[in-house]
């Protein structure tokens, strides 16, 4: 690994100052589980890393019933999956974050890093999308926000400018009769990169009879995680049934743009999008109906 400098500022302003004018030669370092691997492999060369773990705004988890949930970009996964409020109110997020690596990776890796690394297969991103997550970004011109589904632009590419920093991700408070679920398919039972990942969320009307809102987001079947908007449109106003979920699955398959690589074939991925969309919708429905453990 090429030599580099290490900075550990304690304020967002100092991070931004360190990034100014450095192009891609200075990178924020959160959990490091992607960054250090890429640097060691020679895929990435930097002059300095800026450790963002000492900055309060990036390290907090805040949940307020009326306001929702804010997770700092440098919060390690283990804190998210073990947080009582998140477990209770955002189980769909826990589904996804719990799948990021093994125990030791979760001890270090962050949801913010998962997002900024922008892998098409990143487990947390479809979950963020279906939960309506908003990214809070600090930059020279101040703060701006971006819906999670618009954050990634391509494999490893995001909307972040070279002088910007992801500070946190905010989730709205869950509506009544709302449920979300994330499922992925991997060949082994742990430790793999998703062959396909599907996040789904649904909200039901007060009679528990019709879907008032649905979102389905797909991972590893395109250059970025994909919000399958046709699926949401199709489900809105429908009864939650195997028939409507089957149609949703078909539309999700249409929205997917899978390729063949060493982790899966195009046909397999397209097929799995259908399977997982149905299963994730069932999981989300179950949670919407109150069975909060729902899921697989």
């Amino acid at each position: 690994m090429k030599a580099f400098d290490y900075l550990a500022p304690t304020t967002v302003e100092d991070v931004l100052a360190a990034l100014v004018g450095k192009g891609d030669r200075v990178r924020p370092l959160a959990g490091g589980t992607d960054l250090i691997v890429q640097m060691r492999r020679g895929a990435l060369e930097v002059d300095a890393v800026v450790d963002v773990k000492k900055i309060p705004e990036l390290n907090g988890i805040a949940y307020r019933p009326g306001e929702g949930l804010t997770i700092g970009a440098a919060v390690p996964c283990h804190r998210i999956v073990e947080h009582p409020d998140i477990m209770k109110m955002y189980p769909g997020l826990v589904d996804a974050v719990a799948l990021i690596g093994g125990t030791a990776i979760k001890g270090r890796a962050t949801m913010g890093g998962n997002l900024c690394n922008a892998a098409p297969s990143a487990d947390s991103i479809p979950a963020m999308i279906v939960l309506g997550g908003t990214c809070h970004i600090a930059g020279p011109a101040g703060m701006r926000t971006m819906p999670a589904e618009l954050f990634c632009k391509g494999p490893g590419e995001t909307v972040l400018g070279r002088e910007e920093l992801l500070v946190s991700v905010h989730f709205p408070p869950p509506k009544s009769r709302f449920g979300a679920c994330y499922l992925r398919f991997i060949p082994r039972h742990e430790m793999d990169i998703a062959v396909v990942g599907v996040g789904a969320s649904v909200a039901l009307d007060p009679d528990w009879a019709r879907i008032t809102m649905a979102r389905v987001a797909l991972g590893a079947v395109g250059p970025t995680p994909i919000l399958a908007e046709t699926v949401g449109t199709s489900l809105k106003g429908k009864e939650p049934s195997e028939a409507s979920f089957a149609e949703a699955a078909r539309l999700a398959q249409e929205a997917a743009r899978p390729i063949t690589d060493m982790r899966g074939t195009e046909a397999q991925r397209r097929h799995l999008v259908g399977v997982l969309t149905r299963r994730a919708l069932r999981g989300a429905l179950e949670r919407a109906k109150g069975g909060r453990s729902g899921g697989r």
Partner: protein, 764 residues
């Protein structure tokens, strides 16, 4: 191996054998004190780093090392030029069965690179990071050549030739035309062609298996110091210190006595750290000589995958015939195994094992096997636990299952109908000695697992069996008795999994003392006699015999001391269960420790020696039973229950035997479901890491139930057979048979990944 009388062990009423004492080296290994390959730290030590080919097949035009050599912190740079004496070495294998020219070229490429990762140069610097930076400064110009990574492609007439002068070795009329086929050999028994025409049922399929890696968690690592006085000290993680020494003597043209190989703890090997192929040590030696400093070389995980010695992928066509009553009449097989970049060293011998053992569980009147060793642009292949046999067993055990299904017979019953017994002839012309084939099948049949019905949708139960012949070979052991009745034991067998203890237990049984009274050590090449590598399931058998021999030598000497103390003749002293006894002039007794306490005053040290090369070891069978559930929508296979039944001869330490079986089974499960090298069209490996080369995790397997069948093996005083190899053989076929019963489809290609299963089911 044949014609040994059905033997019974000399003793059956054991004090030590069959118990489960604590392992001698385990405290070191749970506290972090144990020193493995990369744990040596010497003053002034440098770090070595290889420069490797990015191309699968290319001619080296030039190598420029000047920039690297002058980089601050760099002490030495070497290329194949530094092996100037290697140039003239021919391709005739030496007595170790390995072609020294290939060994040289594989370590540092001379004219051509033959796989991605093939070393072309190396540097030594004062930190690993500097070495890495300097390695990048070495400029190599290549003329890229077309690459071939598949055996079928490599055998085509217009395939690119890896070696322009390679002609196929065989016992038939010599061929002159160069090809990528390194060797061809054949086993033929009877008249299979005619016999097939008379069979009631003939099954035939094509199968492939992927290149797989032994997957030891410890990357190769060594530290080498070529001192100014011409001695070479080598600290390394190897399966055989003496084999390593002998290979280095040849590679470096040094006297064996000048080379001191100190074997460190080995973080997994499974055939991948045999001392036959040398990757780092000789290069580190050259760097050390140039730098006049000790040099440590460690591989990265990617280097381990790209450039060590995985085991062969294979393409196989197998055909079997049987009568309506379920008697096998004839078999025929063609095996094409990847050799990797160079023809296989004969001593690696996986084709010999594959052809000898693939049909070994069955009485087969007529059969023919043709086996081919094919070079391709991949790293050189070598042994992986039961070398060659898991590949060849995969077709056989699936076809056996298919025949049982078509004849509506229970799969174990079908196997029992064709089971081999002592005297049964294998297809290579040897005969089975004293074996426990039938006992294993009956134990599987009556196991709780097999008798418990499997219910539920998408579930299936599969069985498969496998055979490994085990091994003997040279081993040495010394036992020195201490004045307090303890003893220090030294063997030359590198301890991969607890053999310090299984060897000490055998000595303890003879000496009549507790095994924790014996300090059991692995010697270096200066401190013990020649001992063959730890492999082939030989160590507890052969080094155990060396220890028993040494212990008996100790007892013989101590009887002499007791006789001296009692003033009687040595023949008047007997030794029973740890007590020396004389009945001459009234009965007298002395415990082992009492005599030990007197050795100083009765002639000095007592050291027993055992230098052995035991013959007539016994082979072993294993039968595995697996229940799976297949997700019909995703093709994913979940293992619900797993049982491994095996004839272990005599389990010296049952926990270790169970551990060997469990570990081997899970490696076989990995081979069956998850593992395989993946390549792009340029011959570059896509998955050289544990993220995408998927070995089983703790979540992929259930508890592995074991059933130890003890049919005493021949020619070992306690009836030991080998244990380690057998359990890796049956899992792929057992899983395939279970998948068939769960889904109705047969998967003929390994690994049986979800996508393979879905494709076989016609879902995608």
């Amino acid at each position: 191996m044949s014609k040994d009388k059905r033997s019974t062990p000399e003793v059956t009423d054991y004090e030590v054998v069959g118990t489960r004492p604590q392992r001698h080296d385990a405290p070191d290994k749970v506290t972090g004190r144990a020193l493995f390959g990369a744990d040596t730290n010497l003053t002034g030590m440098l770090c070595g780093k290889m420069v490797r080919s990015p191309h699968a097949h290319a001619r080296i035009r030039s190598i420029h090392t000047a920039r690297a050599a002058s980089y601050p912190g760099v002490y030495a740079v070497v290329t194949a030029q530094d092996f100037w004496w290697a140039k003239d070495r021919g391709t005739n294998p030496d007595e170790s069965g390995e072609t020294i020219k290939y060994l040289h070229e594989n370590m540092l490429a001379q004219e051509k690179v033959l796989y991605v990762g093939h070393p072309v140069a190396a540097v030594a610097a004062n930190s690993p990071h500097i070495a890495e930076e300097a390695a990048k400064l070495i400029e190599v110009q290549y003329e890229v050549l077309p690459a071939v990574t598949d055996v079928r492609e490599a055998m085509k007439p217009d395939a690119p030739l890896l070696h322009e002068h390679l002609v196929t070795q065989s016992l038939s009329k010599p061929v002159q035309k160069p090809s990528n086929i390194g060797s061809h050999f054949q086993n033929l028994k009877g008249n299979p062609t005619q016999s097939f025409s008379q069979a009631d049922l003939v099954v035939e399929r094509e199968f492939t298996t992927s290149t797989v890696h032994q997957g030891y968690i410890e990357p190769h690592a060594c530290t080498v110091w070529w001192t100014v006085d011409g001695d070479l000290k080598v600290w390394t993680s190897t399966q055989g210190a003496f084999g390593m020494r002998d290979q280095l003597a040849k590679l470096l043209s040094l006297p064996m006595s000048n080379i001191h190989v100190i074997p460190l703890e080995v973080g997994g090997a499974f055939g991948g750290k045999l001392p036959i192929y040398i990757f780092l040590e000789a290069v580190a030696a050259l760097l050390s000589r140039k730098a006049s400093r000790p040099v440590k070389m460690t591989m990265t995980r990617a280097e381990v995958f790209l450039a060590t010695n995985p085991t062969s992928g294979a393409y196989m066509k197998v055909k079997m015939g049987a009568t309506r009553e379920g008697r096998i009449t004839a078999v025929q097989a063609e095996l094409y195994f990847e050799a990797g970049a160079y023809p296989s060293a004969d001593v690696i011998g996986y084709l010999g094992f594959a052809t000898a053992y693939m049909f070994a569980p069955y009485e087969i009147p007529h059969g023919q096997i043709d086996a081919y060793d094919v070079v391709v642009n991949k790293p050189r292949t070598a042994a992986y636990r039961a070398p060659g046999v898991p590949q060849a067993n995969f077709p056989v055990e699936q076809l056996i299952d298919e025949m049982a299904v078509r004849l509506a017979m229970d799969p174990i019953e079908f196997r029992l109908q064709n089971v081999v017994r002592e005297g049964s002839e294998l297809l290579n012309g040897t005969t089975h000695g004293n074996i426990g084939a039938e006992e294993v099948l009956r134990a599987a049949q009556s196991s709780n697992h097999y008798r418990t019905p499997l219910a539920g949708p998408n579930r299936g139960r599969g069985v498969a069996q496998g055979y490994w012949g085990n091994w003997g070979a040279r081993s040495s052991c010394t036992i020195s008795v201490n004045g307090d009745g303890t003893a220090n034991l030294v063997t030359g067998s590198v301890d991969l999994s607890g053999t310090r203890t299984t060897i000490a237990m055998q000595a303890a049984e003879v000496l009549g003392i507790s095994p924790d009274r014996i300090q059991s050590n692995v010697g270096d090449t200066d401190s013990i006699g020649y001992t063959e590598m730890s492999g082939g399931s030989r160590t507890t058998f052969a080094t155990g015999i060396a220890a028993i021999t040494a212990a008996r030598d100790v007892i013989a000497q101590m009887r002499g001391r007791a006789a001296l103390l009692w003033g009687v003749e040595v023949q008047d002293v007997t030794f029973e269960r740890g007590i020396f006894v004389t009945r001459r002039s009234g009965e007298k007794q002395m415990f082992f420790a009492e005599v030990a306490g007197k050795i100083a005053e009765t002639g000095g040290a007592v050291t027993g020696t055992g230098n052995v090369d035991p013959q007539g070891w016994g082979g072993a069978f294993g039968m595995h039973i697996v229940d799976v559930q297949v997700d019909p929508e995703t093709g994913k296979v979940d293992i619900l229950r797993y049982t491994a039944v095996q004839d272990v001869g005599k389990a010296i330490h049952p926990s270790f035997v169970e551990g060997q079986i469990q570990g081997g089974a899970v490696q076989g499960i990995g081979w069956g479901l998850y593992e395989g090298y993946q390549y792009d069209t340029r011959g570059d490996m896509l998955n050289p890491g544990f993220l995408d080369y998927k070995i089983p995790t703790a979540t992929d397997v259930p508890m592995i139930e074991t059933i130890l069948v003890e049919v005493p093996g021949p020619n070992h005083p306690f009836g030991v057979r080998g244990v380690g190899e057998v359990p890796i053989i049956p899992p792929p076929a057992a899983l395939a048979n279970a998948i068939y019963r769960a889904t109705g489809v047969r998967v003929a290609d390994l690994p049986m990944t979800p996508v393979q299963v879905l494709e076989a089911m016609g879902v995608i």
